[in-house]
């Protein structure tokens, strides 16, 4: 798909990027301005050169859907629903283990979508009044049931406006993604379109505005055509508010069967701008961080500093913390097979701050200290946002 005469715009939580056929520029967002005003302030001349039908926009700004998943086990229902939600572009996910629902506090803010899940189809009577009492106190916009089909009529009877979809757990305890994924992707899409800030961007484009993670995910099968990457690889998108990890399914030890070749995981509290404080908090709770700071020849006072050097250190810490979270050192949602990773691809704002050597240094530190390994995957920087443009190209429906 040709990008000739196309203008691509990515609106992030911290930066926006615009790409023409000859150049890519990025600008720090001014949060006192509406996104469109801010964009026009920096790029009016460029944007003015393109017809509305040739402008394509994706956005990860303004959060995304706030999702609450109520499931009956961590290993199956909650894990599967979380996996599907991440792969539908959703960033913000909280979970409730149903048996303990009475111990959870009710979120005070509006939840965009509640997902109820649990049990294979031959199981019945899983949910009872404790679910309905909790939901009665909860403020939500959408609610969907993707659990046992035998429980669906009861759920429909007790929960107003609930959408009933096929069970996401089959009778072999495998994941079934399609229906929930489509449902969430549509909601995400409507959410983006409905946000006033994003809505105003339709003044400069005639095309659908897509979620950025969807675009990046579309790029993954095409990446090795652009870079000299050795599979399997992981892609880290470290931004201002969140860190996204896209990884090949071959790297996951646990066997979640899905249609996609790649999977996505989001750390919503690891970012170097909007989520800076939670990143520092996570760093202080990691016993290896002080050793890493020493290795980088700084002290923890760097956390109180501003400026280029502090940002650089925070980004290096973000890489280390994310890798720790995906390793056996911290048992998390998934543990990747780090010994078999051949390439690390980094995209997002981080590529403008750190050099390949600086990232290799952190990766080497991680492999040595956490995995006690001499393995050194190749580090590839997507410094020119090629992956993002590749994603737009890769998904023909975007153009």
């Amino acid at each position: 798909m040709s990008l000739e005469n196309k203008l691509l715009i990515d609106v992030g939580s911290t930066y926006f990027k615009i790409s023409t056929e000859t150049s890519i520029e990025q600008h720090f967002r001014d949060f006192n301005k509406d996104i469109l005003d801010d964009l026009m302030h920096h790029c009016a001349e460029t944007i003015g050169k393109y017809d509305k039908q040739n402008v394509h926009i994706c956005s990860s700004a303004n959060g995304g859907l706030n999702t609450l998943i109520i499931g009956i086990t961590n290993s199956y229902s909650l894990k599967y629903a979380t996996n599907i939600a991440f792969n539908s572009g959703i960033n913000i996910i909280d979970t409730i283990l149903y048996q303990d629902i009475e111990d959870y506090s009710v979120p005070s803010e509006l939840v965009d979508v509640v997902i109820i899940v649990g049990g294979i189809d031959s199981c019945a009577g899983i949910f009872n009044d404790s679910l309905y009492s909790y939901l009665a106190k909860l403020d939500y916009s959408n609610i969907v049931f993707v659990g046992s089909s035998q429980d669906a009529p009861m759920i429909e009877q007790n929960i107003e406006n609930v959408d009933i979809l096929p069970n996401i757990i089959d009778n072999k305890l495998h994941i079934v993604e399609e229906s929930l994924k489509e449902y969430l992707t549509n909601l995400y899409q409507q959410d983006i379109e409905g946000k006033e800030d994003i809505k105003s961007l339709y003044a400069i484009t005639d095309n659908q505005i897509y979620p950025t993670p969807y675009i990046v995910n579309s790029a993954l099968p095409l990446i090795d055509a652009r870079y000299s990457i050795v599979n399997p690889f992981i892609l880290l998108d470290i931004g201002g508010a969140t860190t996204d990890i896209h990884y090949s399914k071959d790297l996951v030890e646990e066997n979640i069967v899905t249609e996609n070749e790649y999977d996505r995981l989001v750390f919503k509290k690891l970012g170097v701008y909007k989520s800076k404080q939670s990143l520092i908090f996570a760093a202080k709770n990691n016993e290896f961080v002080y050793e890493l700071l020493m290795h980088l020849k700084v002290t923890e006072n760097i956390f109180n500093e501003q400026g280029a050097k502090a940002t650089k250190i925070l980004m290096q810490l973000a890489i280390f913390l994310v890798l720790c979270k995906l390793s056996h050192y911290r048992k998390a949602y998934v543990n990747l097979k780090f010994q078999t990773i051949n390439s690390f691809v980094l995209t997002g704002g981080i590529t403008k701050v750190l050099s390949t050597e600086e990232i290799e240094d952190i990766v080497a530190f991680f492999y040595k200290k956490i995995l006690t390994s001499e393995h050194r995957p190749k580090v590839v920087l997507d410094a020119n946002y090629d992956i993002w443009t590749l994603g737009v190209k890769g998904d023909e429906s975007c153009l």
């Binding site: 009956i72 290993s75 303990d100 031959s122 757990i169 305890l173």
Partner: protein, 137 residues
């Protein structure tokens, strides 16, 4: 009757696992086989998701000893598994050991039925007899 089965811990004895699966099916059980290398939490979670009445854990390389100690504490975290029949079988220690020592130890870990180096059919006969007995009560 629904049975969740699998091989616990870092144990890849897939042939034994397959034989257990086939034998259970032949006896009319509905089997949810989690396969090899299964963590304890996954066994309990599978029992919750499937509504299984029996959890049959197998182990051949002696890993069960370490995992067995965790059973009571982990199961206590689940609010609806009190009636789950807990069975373990295979080679339950590293090296050799007496059933007289091993069986009480595993019962103390929280298993209702313990089959150390017992052949499969005898083990499953024991399970069926246990179920019959429980149904009478």
């Amino acid at each position: 009757m629904k049975v969740v089965t699998g091989v616990v811990g870092n144990d890849i004895h897939v042939v034994a696992n397959r034989l257990i699966d086939l034998s259970l099916r032949a006896r009319g059980f509905e089997v949810f086989n989690l396969g090899v290398n299964t963590y304890l939490e996954e066994f309990f979670d599978a029992a919750v998701e499937t509504g299984a009445e029996v959890l049959l854990i197998s182990s051949l390389n002696g890993e069960a000893e370490g995992w067995g100690r965790e059973v009571k504490a982990l199961k206590a975290k689940y609010k609806h598994l009190d009636n789950l029949i807990m069975m373990i079988g295979g080679n339950l220690v590293v090296g050799s050991g007496n059933a007289e020592d091993i069986v009480p130890r595993y019962k103390n870990y929280g298993f209702d039925l313990v089959c150390h180096q017992v052949d499969l059919n005898t083990g499953l006969d024991t399970l069926e007899a246990f179920i019959q007995e429980r149904n009478k009560q």
